[in-house]
């Protein structure tokens, strides 16, 4: 957390701490704020899950239910003390989240929120029908929390517990976002391909954020049970789950304080609508549902980013991250073994009846620059995807340093120090160039979620960011490294991708059209960089349409046409090869 964020947090904490002491704040408002705090915890989890991780969930209420029921059952039926049940409640929630998450996070696109609706309904009916949990009546006479032997019976004393947890959750979430695990989660939103290419295990990252969000919901449930002193299946219901999502959308799903803002608006609004509207329209209506539904749609139509960015825009921009230039990750060097580094042997790939890559063989030697060229649709990018494990081979083999790597999957291939860039740039547009590039060093760090939250990862982070800055400097983007990646010109984005790939410390670097969108001098600089990398011992395989660039740079060229290799050899020979000339210019008839 940089100083500006810390100041913001301290101001917020001071305000929240002062509120219950202010003489003019009635009990009623303190109670409302207790509920805002409870909802904030769930909404914070949703910010991580939906806003940051890109997974929309309507089912968070279920996890609130798990936390609430676990403690309600243990304290009433078995006489446990409430504080003792806290770890149990959280453990139950985490266990449930792991099981549900294993299925859910594998769902893609809109199937995921649909899945959350399905299990949201399932748990409501399940708990409503379990006799041991009091069926639809739920469990009542749950004991209150007590601190130093004093039971927290009124909303003013409970306030400090709730908001203490909320403040801790804000800190934890902010720390998590600014950590190695957090970056891998943030990278998910702009597609899994880029994250996988630098060795992020996407399922694991998704499951991590899923469990984290559930944990906060479970904590909220535990607090809720001891605040309300009763639990009913209503806490599970889908409508409540929808309200949590509304909070996140309203406040701004990508922002920590957006969650609190959204929770505040929804809880307060709900209370007033329930009190006020029946006065005008008669009792017996669920008027807040009408307002919330319309509000949700209106937000999507009018301000999809939520309200917080509007407010935060007035509070000023966040300061750029300080980088310690002395931080660096140790390079792992290059071996000088026998034989080629990469051997592609009779690689085939079919898409239905189309043969995109047809028994292609080639090699990339150690410290060699190989160009892969061919007209559009020749199968160059498909070949890249085969080598990096994004696509499975239909036939043939791929060997790296003498070992078979086909069938390994992108993140395990990245672990063997094969890095790549993409033809269609895949950067997280809202993250700074620096953060995007730092994702590339994912496999060179070790810090997990817990050390990220507790800030035990600072030394490693210092090294990662020092390294990222060094690589950015190398590709010539040092003066714009704090800008959001989405604000860069296309050519610069390509360079940023190269810097990200270099952060992996690769033995083999695959560049997909690196020079597209670059000006002449920038191309020269890029060619110089690639030559320097080769001289250090790195091997480079590149796809490029700029023939001058390819011919002056590469040691060896492989030409594809209609999926098949039509020529291979030194640049000078390729330029004279009749088959190549025919493929590019057509046959002289």
């Amino acid at each position: 957390m940089n100083r500006r964020d810390l100041t913001r947090f301290l101001v917020f904490a001071a305000i929240m701490a002062a509120i219950p002491f202010l003489p003019f704040v009635p009990d009623f408002w303190v109670t409302l704020l207790d509920f805002v705090g409870l909802a904030s915890l769930v909404a914070l989890g949703l910010v991580m899950l939906t806003g940051v991780g890109g997974m929309t969930s309507f089912g968070q209420a279920a996890f609130v239910g798990f936390g609430a029921y676990a403690t309600a059952l243990l304290t009433t039926a078995y006489g446990w003390s409430p504080w003792l049940t806290l770890p149990v409640s959280l453990a139950v929630t985490v266990a449930a989240a792991l099981v549900i998450g294993l299925v859910t996070v594998r769902l893609s696109g809109h199937f995921l929120p649909l899945g959350t609706i399905a299990w949201g309904i399932c748990f409501y009916y399940l708990f409503g029908n379990l006799k041991a949990l009091g069926a639809y009546d739920g469990i009542s006479s749950v004991p209150p929390l007590s601190v130093l032997g004093l039971p927290l019976l009124d909303s003013r004393s409970f306030y400090f517990v709730v908001w203490g947890f909320v403040l801790a959750a804000i800190l934890a979430t902010a720390n998590l976002l600014d950590s190695r695990v957090g970056r891998s989660i943030r990278a998910l939103r702009s597609g899994a391909a880029a994250a996988e290419s630098v060795g992020v295990n996407v399922w694991r990252a998704k499951l991590t954020v899923f469990v984290y969000a559930a944990l906060l919901a479970g904590l909220s449930g535990w607090l809720y049970a001891h605040f309300q002193r009763a639990v009913t299946p209503g806490v599970f219901s889908l409508t409540v789950g929808i309200e949590y999502l509304l909070m996140a959308v309203l406040g701004g799903a990508g922002y920590i304080y957006g969650a609190i803002l959204g929770a505040g608006i929804v809880v307060v609004l709900k209370n007033f609508l329930q009190d006020l509207l029946p006065l005008f329209f008669g009792a017996g209506g669920n008027y807040e549902g009408i307002v919330f539904g319309i509000l949700l749609i209106a937000m999507l139509q009018g301000a999809r980013e939520g309200l917080w960015p509007v407010i935060a825009g007035r509070l000023g921009k966040t300061a750029p991250r300080a980088v310690d230039a002395t931080g660096a990750l140790p390079g792992r060097g290059f071996e000088t073994g026998d034989g080629a580094l990469l051997r592609v042997k009779d690689a085939r790939r079919l898409f239905g009846g189309l043969v995109a890559v047809d028994t292609v063989s080639f090699e990339v030697g150690r410290g060699e620059i190989v160009g892969l060229i061919g007209p559009n649709g020749a199968g160059k990018s498909t070949t890249f995807n085969l080598v990096t494990g994004v696509l499975a081979l239909s036939g043939g083999e791929i060997h790296f340093e003498g070992e078979r790597i086909d069938g390994l999957g992108p993140e395990r291939i990245a672990a063997r120090r094969i890095a790549r860039t993409f033809q269609h740039v895949k950067l997280a547009p809202t993250m700074s160039v620096l953060e995007n590039v730092a994702i590339g060093a994912h496999l060179r760090g070790r810090a997990g979620m817990v050390s990220g939250i507790l800030r035990l990862d600072r030394e490693e982070e210092r090294k990662i960011f020092g390294e990222a800055a060094r690589q950015i400097e190398r590709v010539g983007l040092a003066d714009i490294m704090h800008q959001p990646a989405g604000a860069l010109a296309l050519g610069q984005q390509r360079l940023a991708e190269i810097a990200r790939a270099l952060c992996l410390d690769p033995k083999l670097l695959l560049l997909d059209e690196p020079a597209a969108g670059l000006r002449h001098l920038e191309k020269q600089a890029l060619a110089d960089l690639i030559r320097r990398l080769r001289d250090e011992g790195m091997s480079v395989l590149l796809v490029e349409h700029d023939m001058d660039f390819v011919m002056q740079l590469t040691d060896h060229i492989v030409v594809l046409n209609f999926g098949a290799r039509i020529a291979t050899g030194a640049p000078a020979d390729i330029q004279r090869d009749p088959a190549v000339i025919e493929a590019y210019l057509g046959s002289p008839t």
């Binding site: 893609s108 696109g109 399905a118 299990w119 309904i121 399932c122 549902g289 999507l300």
Partner: protein, 345 residues
Amino acid sequence: MDFTIALFLIQDGIINGAIYALLAVALVLVFAVTRVILIPQGEFVTFAGLSLAAMETGSVPGAVWLLLVLAAMSAVMDAGAALRERSPAKAVRLAAWNLAPAIAIAAAVLVLVPLQLGLAVNIVLCAALIVPMGPYLYRVAFQPLADASVLVLLIASVGAHLALTALGLVLFGAEGYRTSPVVSGSFQIGPLFVTGQSLLVVGATLALLAGLALFFGRTLIGKALKASAINRRGARLVGIPTMLSGRIAFAMAAAIGVVSAVLVAPLTTLYYDSGFIIGLKGFVAAIIGGLGAYPAAVAAALSVGLLEAFSSFWASAFKEVIVFASILPVLLWRSLTSTHGDEED
């Protein structure tokens, strides 16, 4: 369980399955044309069923006011858009186009319903009342989001469901209603006791499904809808307005809701919030069928009906749990087999 009970459960399953099939087809239709996953589909059923029940007692259903409000909202939105283009004449015209049918329908309902002219007239009035809500709902909630991702549309759809269910409580009250059957009488086939209404359910469902197949295969509008479903931009380029196809799709979904209501309201008591669960089961079927294929959705709907019937016999308290849990493995299988999940949204 003996043979008779099994037969009875199968009959029950088929009747429910037929209704779910209708709703599943509506969901597939709307999703294909507009990419909206229409969670409020069930609300069309309850609104139609409860309106019909109100008309039977000669009282004006509250849905009239909803229709007028929706019409007014779309009039304001359309006129507003026209005014931003600085064409006040167009604004007036669009407002009139939006308001006139709603006012005419509302007037007809207000005048004719108290006369209690019988079931046939009531069904027509109910259809006139509910079907236009589809296009109005599309205009108000979804048209401004037409270019958004499936995910955003889904969240909006959930919002619409939330608002409409809550409105249902205001408009129709918390009490449940059942309408009188369209076809009365019943007869015995072997050990089975079959009501005329249940035969009508199956017959009408089959007829409607056949009608839809003809509509998409043979008519210009049907083909145009199919075209916008397959490729929105392409359809727009050859002159099929996506806005119009969205409204038509929603009108058809609402019409299917009305038909389902006429069929199901005599068989089961409808409450203001029943639509959600009924709709969601159609939705489970649509998902199992892949949100794309009509025959698959119909087959899946029958399985959902049967699964529900048999689980209500073996574990009646947990029948909803079983039905909704059945969607999870299917979703998983769908996501693992669909190759382009990430790029599309």
